[in-house]
């Protein structure tokens, strides 16, 4: 098993748009949080933009059963709240999950978070879920534990969650109104009976809200995920956002519905459409308010392993893990390495903070805490997509599985989201129908005016340009934020950013 290279050091030598923190936006994203909460999320790869450069998370699929039905889920596959539809995870017993976690923790010292999220609802499988947590708390106490749930069984689990020192819970809350809920949840299993319709939604909502309150009262961090379903709960999610923030959720993450007929879900078959990237962004902006949105959530697979964005799951399939010899000495050594790495990162973060607070030489722009940058008369904000790897512009356009989307302004680059692609060129047979996939990729990049990558082929170059997206391969191997900021300045110098485009003006105003 290879020892991984530590995540890119690039963000540690900040320049330009990155001067105040790793992304310029880190402080912004976590501002407004209490010191205690901030400390808790500091090295959580899913929550802190800063941490996702250095830390990794994994999910263990130990919880097969579910106690509700969501219209965007087909129970032949993994829980669609935590995974993309159509994914099937290898179900693990608690013992296997513990072994796998230890193997990953030893091989990837950055692995700092273990989440249980599926393939069903973790709290509908309390024995399996808690057995896993119990073992890990003993064998690898430095790993943060987190759990995701639809919320139905949450109130009954809070006591047990508090016992295991689980400090992150994600609840998927799609509504606070039972009439809306009845269009999302056809039934729940409640006290020995399948309950349907508005009554089912009413109970589910009540349990979710009660669970949220109980967790907050216990000092357990709560993140809320919502699935944006156009025409069903899109407007309503603004209300949801207000309610959950008022009750103390520290993050609200709005994700787009994914619905395709071939997934066999209700929404997929009935032709319910997904939101466009622009609709999603508008709703996220509307919900953001003075609170944090998790724009870099990638709806990762429930059995994902690795630094966000680079899935190493294939190295840790159960047959490979079972074959690994891990004696006490090996584990002790691995734990020591993990500790050293954490200390190193903490020291680097300290150094960065000190630098950010030091007086700046004249002429150097300091990026201060900013969340929503307003236009300056020097140029309008521009969305750019980046084919990134380890924090660098290092991916070939055709090989990118996802693009990070940044909003570039005079103040620097701010990560606002990411867009998935169906890899349009995998070098194999499927390249035959590459064209339509390229078209899909271009659609996924809607709203972006430039795309940064290490290399790009002739054909996609032309099509991107035709779609009004400027391909740019000139910043290959540069740190992402620097490259984005540089391209923005190039566009500014070329006189492209003078006239604010209509949509941007509206949003920024």
């Amino acid at each position: 098993m290879d020892l991984p290279v530590i995540a890119s050091k690039a963000p540690l030598t900040p320049q330009g748009g990155c001067s105040a923190g790793s992304c310029g936006s880190t402080a912004g994203q976590l501002s407004g949080l209490s010191e205690e909460i901030r400390r808790k999320v500091e090295d959580h790869p899913c929550y802190s933009e800063q941490a996702h450069h250095h830390f990794a998370r994994m999910h263990a699929a130990v919880a097969p059963a579910c106690n509700i039905q969501c219209h965007y889920c087909n129970r032949k596959y993994d829980c669609a709240n935590e995974s993309r539809p159509g994914v099937v995870s290898e179900l693990l017993t608690p013992d296997q999950a513990v072994k796998k976690t230890l193997a990953v923790a030893a091989a990837i010292p950055q692995m700092s978070v273990l989440g249980i999220a599926g393939p069903g609802d973790p709290l509908a499988n309390p024995e399996r879920t808690f057995a896993t947590f119990r073992e890990l708390a003993i064998k690898a106490p430095d790993i943060k534990l987190c759990v995701s749930t639809n919320g139905l069984a949450l109130p009954d689990s809070v006591e047990e969650l508090a016992k295991h020192n689980i400090d992150h819970v994600t609840i998927t809350i799609n509504c606070v109104d039972a009439e809306v809920g009845a269009k999302i949840y056809p039934w729940i299993f409640w006290q020995g009976e399948r309950i349907r319709g508005i009554e089912a939604a009413r109970i589910l909502i009540e349990q979710q809200q009660k669970g949220l309150e109980m967790l907050v009262a216990r000092g357990i961090l709560v993140k809320v995920n919502s699935v944006m379903i156009p025409g069903v709960n899109d407007e309503h999610l603004k209300e949801v956002s207000k309610v959950v923030k008022a009750k103390g959720a520290f993050l609200h993450n709005v994700m787009p519905l994914i619905a395709e007929a071939e997934h066999g879900t209700f929404y997929g078959i009935m032709g319910q459409r997904s939101p466009s990237p622009a609709e999603l962004k508008n709703l996220q902006d509307a919900c953001e308010g003075d609170m944090n949105m998790m724009r870099h959530c990638r709806q990762c697979r429930a059995d994902a392993v690795g630094l966000l964005g680079e899935d190493r799951g294939a190295e840790f399939t159960m047959d490979k893990v079972e074959a690994m010899e891990m004696d006490d000495a090996f584990l002790a050594d691995a734990m020591a390495k993990r500790k050293a790495l954490r200390e190193q990162i903490a020291a680097e973060n300290e150094a960065k903070k000190a630098k950010a607070h030091a007086p700046q030489p004249a002429g150097v722009a300091v990026v201060t805490i900013h969340r929503r940058t307003t236009t300056t008369d020097s140029g309008r904000p521009v969305l750019m997509a980046v084919a990134a790897k380890n924090g660098m512009v290092a991916e070939h356009f055709g090989h990118a599985r996802e693009f990070l989307v940044y909003e570039a302004t005079a103040a620097g680059a701010k990560l606002i989201g990411h867009r998935k692609t169906d890899l349009y060129c995998d070098g194999g047979d499927t390249c035959g129908d590459g064209e339509s996939v390229l078209a899909k990729t271009i659609k996924a990049l809607e709203g972006c005016e430039a795309v940064l990558c290490s290399k790009i082929g002739y054909e996609p170059w032309g099509e991107l340009e035709a779609a009004g997206i400027r391909p740019n391969g000139e910043h290959a191997m540069e740190p992402v934020e620097e490259a984005v900021t540089a391209v923005w300045h190039e566009m500014l110098a070329a006189g492209l950013l003078n006239a604010p485009i209509a949509a941007e003006t509206k949003r920024v105003a």
Partner: protein
């Protein structure tokens, strides 16, 4: 009288812990009900527990081989609509 789990079962484990008679067991390729133990929950619950929680239409049948959760009853997808979508996918 007993219920039976058939091949559409997706092995989600939801039913197994609910059975008052421990009649449900893990097996390959899918879960099974021990017909000697299953009472259809009579005397323990108003409704058969496995049927109430099972998310898969048609996965549990009665002695007449009739699905306890017929097509469309859990997903809300009308069976004709489902068939039409499958035809459309196959024709692509």
């Amino acid at each position: 009288m007993a219920l039976e789990i058939v091949e559409t079962c997706v092995n989600c484990w939801a039913c197994e812990p609910l059975c008052p008679n421990r009649a449900i067991y893990e097996a390959a390729p899918h879960f099974l009900i021990d017909a000697d133990k299953c009472t259809e929950c009579l005397g323990d619950h108003a409704k058969p527990q496995c049927v109430e929680i099972c998310p898969i239409e048609g996965a549990i049948v009665n002695e007449l081989n009739e699905p306890m959760n017929p097509a469309g009853s859990l997903t809300g997808i009308p069976p004709q609509r489902w068939a039409a979508a499958q035809r459309e996918i196959a024709a692509r």
